[in-house]
Subunit: 335 residues, 2 copies
């Protein structure tokens, strides 16, 4: 395992577990400002790049044609927790495009927010595809298909024009060629392509600054970032790191989690992008790398620093609320 | 990170994530039959050693005095999923000792079985400490306290006579000294002490064969193993690896998971014990190491081999049921 340990999990005074990984902090030209581990190895970005995957929704004119609201644009970039506001916004997006929820091809799962899942059960209901954490992104894909005159059915397939647009956006923003032979299938059934962390971070630097994107794409990226900054609840949900970070930092950081330990961010005021991969896929590891880097890179006032503290200095409590351990930065991340 | 990669997680044809770790396969004398990684480093065994922690329940005479049934003894060794049969058995154990559920000091959480959690919510109920995955172990502690004339209150504290008995059992069975200064607090609030994998595996070899335990302790271990072999559902729950493995292998393997990527087993017919730690704490990694070692070490008929296949060759499916990836043994585990 060539990557260094970045995070240690302590119980009492002993290290119980540890997470190795890599991260890249990069400018819009691809210049590496800070890094650890192998940032050239291709990594599946999973949901971390939803903001890039949502660019065609703006660029195609679909968002304007269907009068999507800011909260709905934020949901198009989201891995949401399936809470009522998320579900309602996804349904509204589809309604505006004249579609029904059964057009969603992302599959169904219970809300990841356990309270929302139990509330659904308590009401005697079952989840639908609207509760899928990707339903906003998929509603955006469907809006894009409708606005560009393409059949919505099969919009998740790599050959569908919507996925071609998404692929072009990913390739052009990150500068990384996406090889069809390396294509994987994501949890929500759309294609996912491995991209080196360095290119991913460069893509986020561009998403943040607009640099190198061209006028229309830069405007689309700015519009999506503004939407998420205004509605950080929509991009994740109650208690989730991305929501809490953007509630604290507003438009100063666009932060997005991906499955299997991926986390990306754009820091517009610094012109930098961040891409993190926890090698073992642990979200808790990637999240703490992100919180640590944000505290290090961004000048923060006391309120913002205080708001980030629970994420940057996580304490582990057991079922009785007793403090039993903590997580801390290690190795090159602690340096 | 000195330990080798033991497990790779694939998406499409690419490795998406990987788990480093260590494992020890050891006989009752401490002879190492097979190993990888650092097996001398102390590791918190967490719930993997519940069968050892349950020895005083038998040895003190508490199990006989209160007429505990086999299923209840299995539950005393369990990290259960909070399904109705688990909850009922924990309540029955307490009733037999004349205690109420509010004597449990393990804390409360929703059942880890999501169906059971939703059923509880659907019924308008809230979880109690009986739903805590450790409630059977704690009910056993309480039975032991009552049978030995000690006050039940505070039975989770390191100084309580029950925890002294548990500590003696752990130290004596594994042969590892348990240092008070390294003591951590477990999820259910009892003490947990770091133990090297090699000693843990030796302890399980002894639990399986009785060798080196003395007559009474060997009989207690055999009784607990038989109870779990007869009631594998009680030790974990629906769909869980430990339950499935012991449903397939019966008394040929006693297998027990612990939090943070620990997995232990006793293989009586071979006189061997297994102890595994996935360094990053991932249960999916430890579980696949266990399934791989069981298939390698035990002669299996076709039915048993087939029953273990989903655990030993796990396939990843997405929300639409599409096969998107797999997990496989790597490095020294694949050799």
């Amino acid at each position: 395992m060539e990557d260094p340990v970045l995070i240690e999990v302590l119980r009492g005074r002993s290290v119980e577990s540890r997470h190795a990984g890599a991260f890249a902090v990069v400018d819009a030209d691809g210049g590496v400002v800070l890094s650890a581990g192998d940032i050239g190895r291709p990594v599946f970005p999973r949901s971390a790049v939803k903001v890039i995957q949502a660019l065609p929704l703006i660029e195609s004119g679909a968002a304007d044609r269907f009068g999507l609201e800011e909260a709905e644009l934020a949901l198009a970039c989201a891995s949401h927790s399936g809470e009522p506001a998320h579900v309602a916004a996804a349904a509204a997006m589809l309604r505006k495009a004249g579609l029904e929820p059964d057009c969603l091809e992302c599959g169904t799962h219970w809300p990841s927010n356990s309270g929302a899942a139990r509330a659904l059960a308590r009401a005697g209901e079952e989840p639908s595809a609207l509760h899928n954490n990707c339903s906003g992104k998929h509603a955006g894909f469907l809006c894009t298909a409708c606005a560009t005159g393409h059949a919505p059915a099969g919009y998740v397939r790599a050959e569908h024009p919507v996925q071609e647009m998404v692929r072009e956006a990913l390739e052009s923003v990150t500068g990384a060629p996406l090889a069809p032979e390396d294509r994987g299938t994501d949890g929500c059934s759309i294609p996912t392509y491995p991209i080196p962390l360095r290119a991913m971070a460069r893509g986020f630097a561009r998403i943040g600054s607009g640099e190198g994107l061209g006028t229309a794409r830069a405007a689309a990226a700015a519009r999506l970032r503004a939407a998420v900054a205004a509605h950080p609840f929509m991009v994740a949900g109650s208690g989730r790191a991305d929501t809490r970070i953007m509630e604290a930092l507003g438009a100063r950081a666009f932060v997005k989690v991906g499955a299997e330990g991926v986390h990306c961010a754009a820091l517009p005021e610094l012109g930098l992008g961040i891409a993190i991969k926890c090698d073992d896929g642990a979200g808790r590891g990637a999240e703490l790398v992100m919180a640590t880097l944000l505290r290090r890179l961004l000048p923060l006032d006391d309120a913002a620093r205080e708001a980030l503290r629970p994420l940057a200095e996580p304490v582990l409590r057991n079922w009785n609320g007793i403090e039993v351990g903590s997580l801390r930065a290690a190795g090159p991340l602690a340096a």
